[in-house]
Amino acid sequence: MTISKSTLRGSNRIKENDKRRIVDETSRKRRHRKIMELLESDNYHDDPHADLVMSKKIPKFDDNLEHRNTRTKKKERTTEYYQFKYRKNFQQLVDEDRAEAELNKRVSYMDIQCEESPLPPRHFCAVCGFLGQYNCLSCGTRYCSIRCMDTHMDTRCLKWAA
């Protein structure tokens, strides 16, 4: 009798604790950043040919270049050459440009970025897309109705992009 009571009580407390895990501001921001990165990505899935082993039989780009016969053999270069010589990624390019721009006192790529709007943001229901008035307590996502809230709780809330 007593044992079952204590376990009940204990489990209740744990249940209470588990009910509302509130995601803090920093991880919400991290989540948002992840979403934005996903929106900029080229592909969602992996390269379908990744498992292919390139053999000599597979036609390469160079194969259809025979038309440019004016070019001297010496100057012909492979794509790998360019990729290796100019292999900087975007962030490196921006940083370099910025440093150079500051030195020469000119406007650079970063300076023309738009500012934040003075107007308040609008909120849309993450589930159905109509105006969403309510916030999810746990993760801050917007929804518009109990129905959408339930869908949100069942599918997305705290389930993706931890």
């Binding site: 010589k85 100019y86 440009d97």
Partner: protein, 548 residues
Amino acid sequence: MFKSKRRRTSGAMDSKPAKKESIEAIIVDSGAYSIKAGLSSIKKPNVIPNCIMKAKSERKRLFLGNQINDCRDCSGLYFLLPCEKGYITKWDVQKPVWDYVFSHNVCPINEKPVIMTQPLFNFKSIQDCMDEIFFEEYEVPSMFRLNPTDLGRLKYIEDNNFTQDVPCIIVDTGYSFTNIIPYINGNKYLRGIRRLNVGGKLLTNHMKDIISYRQYNVMEETFVINQVKEDTCYVAKNILEELKVAAKSGSENTIVKNYVLPDFNNIRRGYIQDSSDLSRKEYEDNCQILRLNNERFIVPEILFHPSDIGMKCMGIAEAVVKSIYSCPNEYQEELCKHIILIGGNCNFPGFKERMYNELRSQLPHSWQVHVFQPKNPVSYNWEGGSSLLKVPDFKTYMVTKAEYEELGSTIIQQRFNTWMIDNSEIKEETREKEEILSYLDNLKDKSVFGKQEPGENVSKTDSDESDTNIQTSDGNMNNTGQNVSDENNQDSLCHNSETDIGSKLKKTQLKTNENATETLDEFYLEEEECEDLRNSVDLFPLGNGSYL
């Protein structure tokens, strides 16, 4: 043998009609998603996807550019894109695509000069590589490089018979970003340029996201969903009204549409289902159908309100207004009459109307607002290439291969980057930065500033100042004039901030009345301070930039 002969003759035929124009060049507008390329003598460019695609169905083949048309099954296409945020970083992708574009398949170079576009503030390393590829690998005899919007402006001026110095503002909304570029006296006004990091790619990815959550999982179908976006999305006039309609059910809801997804068997490209058309009904039964409701206008809405998806950035119309206001006062009204919309996102139905409505409501009513959108906003910049060739003495601006070999990349790049952004612009650039620096120096003790605000304040006072300055029509004269006014301006700025910092000190000075001229000066400044109350740091400690 017979075959080869034939081919040769056809090649000669191609180059024959070319000789009519004085300069015949190949114009290439190399965008992040599509390359627009063709001879200057033709009317319409070849538009070729600037990517390499891999299909699931054909495992041993890569599809370069428009070879994708040969692909039978375009589901789950994997994209290799050469650009990152609009700037070329993956040369292992870009080089093969260019090789393909400049081969006999599309647009062979054949020893003709090349006019090439590059994004705004193209990074040096990218330009180096472009130089190397074109001069050394493709061995072009001469080349010129400029921003795509420069060409768009020339085309606009030529089509409407405007003078070269007509101010205009170009909104270029493409695949990776949206640029807003004001042109004054034929030059970009650098201080007015704005960039939104919203482009077609982001819209497609967002659409993919919401459809995957609400209906089918289409996360891998970038290619198909991009077509869905192109076929169904539109810009709402008033989003709240539109949402109300979308919330209705039955026949009252005029927005909801069923989109038949391609199965790459009977249907190669999806389309909006027409319930009255029975001929297709047969195979539609076996197809997957997307039901699109508010997605149709919520997605393009991100352009106007990036904050909808939590981006800390203003909308496209707001940014245009902001850009106009950051230009000198005397040009602002004129700029509103020449707002040009170009780029793929303009193809959303209702885009132009929405832009006009938003701009109209945000600009003073006494100003005339005119928004122009060309029939084909994607290739408009390319079409400007032939206008560029008509510029007198254009040949002298081109960089020849010999010059490249003698002078090297760095020097010829200066030529590319300073013809359109000519000397006055460069002076302006330096001037601008100096101003900011000096202004910051003056206010070092005050730590209320973020990075942006001083620039805004300066531009405000600057434009006020230049109002009094007599403008001459000549660009160069104008520039020197502005420089003079600028010195004045800097002086007054110094004084201004002095008065800001130590108004007490000034009062004591006034009392002592040491020097008659000095007090006069002070009075003058006092007056000016009253006029420029909006710029006073004390009144708006957070800066007044965002309230302009």
